[in-house]
């Protein structure tokens, strides 16, 4: 049976790991390569690196960091942040990333999804969606949650699947940073609608939250950051807990 995946996410700025609460007030919490190695050793199933550096040097520094990560870890990893062209994807995959995650650029130019999938295969394309619920509607946000669009989470996810996205990484902005659990209802609705793996993100606070998102949320994978970085939950403990709760997991 396919195991549910636990994915620590490392937000990177200028080569360091940072994590914001509700996307603001970033705090530095470590060296990305060291942290990545530690997580791989502890049993993380994949890693996500999200680069939020804004300078024009970022492309070069990110590629160098990806190369270093690829040398040091031997589990799959995804790189995202500011990817807007097929060329960006090419550089990152060439540097050793297994997958890329695309967010705002795909909303602005949905054709990008198809272009990446055609060139490199759907397996390497994670479509990241940040969405917030208000008045019963899940609206998609861009630019790290700063810009609201008219797009509805569900129709956008469906369209992305049809255009060749290989996975959906759905972050609920209502839940992110709250530590009150994942957006399981929306996750489950999404899972009924699309047939590609869904990564739940935003809201992890306890080990039970992971059980919940894999059962009631029907998520294929769960992503979290600060609870791992600040050692509130250790990955080996989490995996034991999931195993005891009959969640298929790689121990």
């Amino acid at each position: 049976m396919l195991a549910k995946r636990i994915i620590p996410c490392l937000d990177i700025k200028d080569g360091r790991v940072v994590k914001g609460v509700n996307f603001e007030n970033l705090r530095d919490s470590g060296n990305p390569v060291e942290l990545a190695k530690l997580y791989a050793e502890q049993g993380a199933d994949e890693l996500v690196f999200l680069d939020i550096t804004a300078t024009h040097e970022r492309r070069k520094t990110l590629a160098a960091l990806v190369e270093e990560i690829a040398r040091e870890i031997n589990i799959p990893f995804t790189v995202g942040g500011g990817i807007s062209t097929v060329d960006d994807v090419h550089i990152l995959l060439q540097s050793g990333a297994d997958k890329v995650s695309v967010n705002s650029a795909a909303v602005r130019n949905p054709q990008l999804i198809q272009d990446i999938a055609d060139k490199f295969g759907s397996q390497c394309l994670v479509l990241a969606i940040d969405a917030k619920e208000a008045d019963g509607e899940w609206l998609v946000y861009l630019n790290g949650g700063r810009l609201q669009t008219e797009l509805i989470l569900f129709s956008w996810a469906k369209q992305a699947e049809q255009m060749g996205a290989g996975e959906i990484l759905f972050t609920s902005m209502n839940h992110d940073g709250t530590k009150n659990g994942f957006a399981n209802e929306a996750l489950n609705d999404l899972s009924q609608l699309i047939n590609i793996p869904i990564i739940a993100s935003g809201g992890a606070g306890t080990m039970q939250h992971f059980v919940d998102t894999f059962t009631t949320g029907s998520a294929d994978a769960a992503l979290a950051a600060s609870i791992f970085h600040f050692k509130e939950i250790a990955i080996p403990d989490l995996k034991q807990y999931l195993h005891q709760h009959n969640i298929p997991i790689r121990l």
Binding site: M1, N74, G121, P197
Partner: protein
């Protein structure tokens, strides 16, 4: 020295890195003359079947590899798309495979009642060993490997099947026929389980 065949499909550095970590040198190459000299080969790859086969043929690899593998019996390990190219073909494309292992790849197709099985099959899954092999020595528990694929192998000869994986159906996820080995999963991304498998290939073949 292990020769890793580069035909432009996917990142090969992670395989070289893992081999290095377990103490084995490797050479990533696109040159037929390097393949000519090889004593052990890895055929990796990620991507679509026809793209893979076409770039493979454009680089002139087929005849040299047929000689190395079928006549000289040099050990070769196919990984993911590399495994697929070793067979007769795939429903994903029109190109003929190398045909070393009899059988073809078909797409995972699940009905409404099996909807929880998403395609691609992506993530960590178990390999159930079905015949003795040096490749799978040293595992104290059923190993889990990292998979990403939408097509699965239907072998013509059950005797070739080395291991199976369950994903909606039980399918052949590893084969071994004389010097020809293939795995659908990615040992280079499968942490300690993958490291052990590559170590076995490097040291026992």
């Amino acid at each position: 020295m292990i020769t890793i065949i580069n035909y432009g499909m996917g990142n090969l550095g992670s395989i070289a890195n893992m081999l290095k970590r377990i103490g084995h040198d490797s050479l990533i190459t696109s040159k037929p003359e390097d393949i000519e000299k090889a004593t052990k080969l890895i055929l990796p790859g990620v991507g679509a079947f026809d793209n893979g086969m076409q770039s493979f043929n454009n680089l002139g690899f087929s005849s040299i590899l047929n000689k190395k593998v079928l006549e000289e019996k040099v050990p070769i390990l196919g990984i993911c798309l590399g495994m697929q190219l070793m067979t007769e073909g795939s429903d994903e494309g029109k190109e003929a495979g190398l045909g070393w292992i009899k059988g073809r790849f078909e797409k995972f197709a699940f009905g409404e009642d099996m909807k929880m099985h998403k395609v691609p099959h992506m993530g960590w899954n178990k390999l159930k060993q079905v015949k003795q092999s040096k490749l799978l020595e040293g595992y104290e528990e059923t190993p889990r490997f990292y998979f990403v694929h939408s097509y699965y192998f239907k072998p013509s000869n059950q005797a070739d099947v080395l291991g199976t994986t369950s994903y909606g159906i039980e399918y052949a996820s590893a084969f071994e026929h004389e010097n020809i080995l293939g795995v659908q999963f990615h040992p280079e991304k499968s942490h300690k389980f993958g490291m052990n498998l590559l170590k076995n290939f490097a040291e026992k073949y």
